[in-house]
């Protein structure tokens, strides 16, 4: 029924234009705390040690449910891991490859060039394993949420007891910063020492959340350092060029004014 479908789309579309945002309104009341990160500001850069720890948190905690399919293991070199370390990390997963010369699909250990292995083969499997909720891919998560890194940090710290009188649906959890305050994901980082850091850093909840936010921001914007460094140079260059251009203009117009 084509006419019906396009009519429905239209009603939906106009309905959205007419009645947008009730869902967002619930979350909008709470303002995000402004967390200070190393990648903020004109000269922002990634804290590599923190991002490496953040990767460990992702690997041991988040990756059970959340994929990061836009990243390859080789990308971790940018965080300061050696070629051997990256190869070692990649080799811990089994990747389906093929078909080989006999036409068979084969499983082999992962390589640095492989994408991060996803925890579920498809969305349906992910939903089936998570009470119907779909854990979103985290590749660009800090770009895909209003508030970016501040929001991710606040969300991970935002679990707690619901205010008196608030009914939390079955299988849902109260979160101060989530739109509607009911989130399917249980508090992923909930106790100190949940991850044992390789570098000996004390794994407090706040430390782990900060580290994983650092890692996720790097994952979403791996170009950030190069971009900001280039921007500073270009703006200095343009400022000088602008001064010259203005001086030339003054000289050219001197006889007219």
């Amino acid at each position: 029924m084509p006419a019906f479908r396009s009519l429905r789309a239209l009603v939906l579309g106009l309905g959205l234009m007419a009645g947008a945002t009730p869902a967002l309104a619930a979350g909008e009341g709470v303002s995000l705390p402004d967390t200070r990160f190393s990648f903020d500001g004109l000269f922002g850069h990634f804290d590599r040690a923190s991002a490496q720890r953040g990767f460990q948190v992702y690997k041991e905690v988040c990756s059970g449910c959340h994929s990061m399919h836009l990243l390859s293991y080789r990308n971790l070199r940018q965080l300061g891991l050696s070629e051997a370390e990256v190869a070692g990390i990649a080799a811990t997963v089994q990747v389906m490859d093929g078909p080989n010369d006999e036409g068979q699909m084969v499983e082999r250990p992962g390589r640095a060039s492989d994408r991060f292995k996803s925890p579920f083969p498809n969305e349906q499997a992910a939903r089936a394993a998570n009470n119907g909720a779909y854990p979103p891919d985290l590749s660009v998560i800090t770009k895909a949420r209003e508030g970016g890194a501040d929001y991710i940090h606040a969300l991970l710290m935002g679990y707690g007891d619901p205010p008196a009188g608030m009914q939390i649906a079955d299988g849902m959890h109260y979160n101060k910063y989530f739109a509607g305050h009911q989130i399917a994901m249980p508090a992923p980082i909930s106790s100190d020492g949940q991850v044992e850091y390789h570098d000996g850093t004390r794994a407090t909840v706040d430390q782990m959340v900060t580290d994983v936010t650092q890692f996720l921001t790097w994952a979403a914007e791996p170009e950030l350092e190069e971009r900001k460094a280039m921007g500073v140079k270009i703006i200095i260059f343009l400022t000088i060029l602008g001064g010259l251009a203005y001086a030339v203009k003054r000289k050219v117009w001197r006889d007219v004014h």
Partner: protein
């Protein structure tokens, strides 16, 4: 026109040889070298040149993006992120292209403001102005289709909402929407045709820009006083005077552009567009890109769907007849004591519409949008036509070279009669 080789005045034998057969050097010398240009431009007159530069930047970055983009619903989103990660300087190309669209609209809005304030649309520049409105419409179509290509949530739902506007057309609306989509919803055929058209339309824009500039070089430029140059004392050659002045504006433009691209690349975009398109999940708040918001606000200000669509398109279509709605013979608002405040209020109304267009359609935004929409049209349809008759303009200067009028005599006959013939 006489047949035969052009009598070139160039000394260099190679240039002379080419110029005799194809006088492009003479043309550039005439149109961009010695071209007589009013000597009193302010920096608002930079924005035409800036718009052309911006168009070329969009085309150059777009060509390289197209080499790495895949127009398929299942692949488009990831191919854009691959550009960001794996293509050399792909992030720079994409952020320059995405923010370049915003810069283009900023530049063109200021260009249009300049035009309206100084009455550049009036005779003899009506066609020049109308071609500009055509460029503006083509730009909007191109930008809209470009925003669909990354195939994020806002791409998909924005495309759904905007294409559905055509269903408001009586009787054939539904069929037109199906025809636009190439199916029964926004899907792969829609993405493919939008990609094709998004690549085609900039070349159409470039063609109309050529006509726009050609028309400009027939009439010559308007100027802040809105009076015609009366002789060589009122003009300077385009080069080096305005090439030097445009260069200053160009560098400032690049600084603003660079701040956006390198430090706030996503600030004018929407976070939801980094979520892959999902026809089953509607984002809580569908908004178009910021440069469409004034028109989106006009659309939503009308409770009736068809009425909203008509007013939205009408808000731009009305510009085509603006040269005849404005009955005043005086171009520049500097000499129009009544029109000037009315126009400033119109500009404020436009900016307020831009603001409320991004807000949810609830009170007080609905009422504000209605008031501003009403004023938007009132200004063109009632205020301007009446002011031409009621307003007593300030005395115009004798000439550009002598802008200070001694004594304050009557309006010069020339400034009065020419536009009156049109009206």
């Amino acid at each position: 026109m006489a047949i035969g080789l052009h009598k070139s005045e160039f000394k260099n034998p190679v240039i002379r040889w080419v110029d005799a057969r194809l006088p492009v050097f003479t043309m550039v010398q005439k149109e961009y070298g010695t071209f007589p240009t009013p000597r009193n431009f302010n920096y608002f007159w930079n924005f035409g040149a800036l718009a052309l530069v911006n168009l070329l930047i969009m085309m150059a970055t777009g060509i390289f993006l197209a080499m790495n983009y895949t127009a398929h619903t299942g692949l488009a989103f990831d191919s854009v992120e691959r550009i960001m990660r794996d293509v050399n300087y792909g992030w720079l190309l994409r952020y320059a292209h995405a923010n370049g669209a915003s810069m283009f609209f900023i530049v063109v809005y200021i260009h249009i403001f300049r035009n309206l304030y100084y009455g550049s649309y009036k005779a003899p520049r009506e066609l020049l102005f109308m071609l500009g409105v055509v460029i503006f419409l083509l730009m909007m179509a191109t930008a809209f289709m470009g925003y669909v290509l990354p195939w994020g949530q806002m791409s998909f739902w924005g495309a759904t909402v905007i294409t559905n506007l055509f269903s408001a057309i009586p009787f054939v609306g539904e069929s037109i929407v199906t025809w636009l989509w190439g199916g029964f919803s926004v899907d792969n055929p829609t993405l493919n045709r939008f990609y094709s058209l998004h690549y085609l339309m900039p070349f159409l824009i470039l063609g109309v820009v050529f006509l726009h500039v050609a028309t400009l070089h027939i009439t010559g430029s308007n100027n802040p006083l809105g009076i015609d140059p009366k002789g060589p004392q009122d003009t300077v050659p385009f080069h080096p005077y305005y090439t030097a002045k445009d260069s200053v504006g160009l560098v400032v433009y690049f600084i603003v552009f660079a701040v956006l691209v390198f430090f706030f690349p996503n600030v004018l975009g929407h976070a939801d567009n980094y979520i892959p398109a999902n026809p089953l999940v509607t984002p809580p708040h569908i908004v178009p890109e910021w440069y469409f918001l004034p028109f989106y606000a006009i659309l939503r200000a009308v409770p009736d769907k068809l009425g909203g669509v008509v007013l939205m398109f009408g808000s731009i279509a009305i510009l085509f007849v603006l040269p005849w709605l404005d009955t005043s013979p005086v171009r520049s608002m500097r000499f129009r004591p009544l029109a000037r405040p009315f126009f400033i209020v119109w500009c404020v109304a436009f900016l307020v519409l831009l603001y409320v267009g991004g807000k949810p359609p609830e009170e007080p935004f609905v009422t504000i949008a209605r008031v501003c929409t009403a004023y938007y049209f009132l200004y063109f349809l009632v205020i301007l036509p009446l002011l031409g008759r009621l307003e007593r303009p300030l005395p115009l200067p004798e000439s550009i070279a002598r802008p200070v009028l001694r004594g304050g005599g009557p309006l010069p006959a020339g400034a009065m009669s020419k536009p009156m013939e049109k009206a």
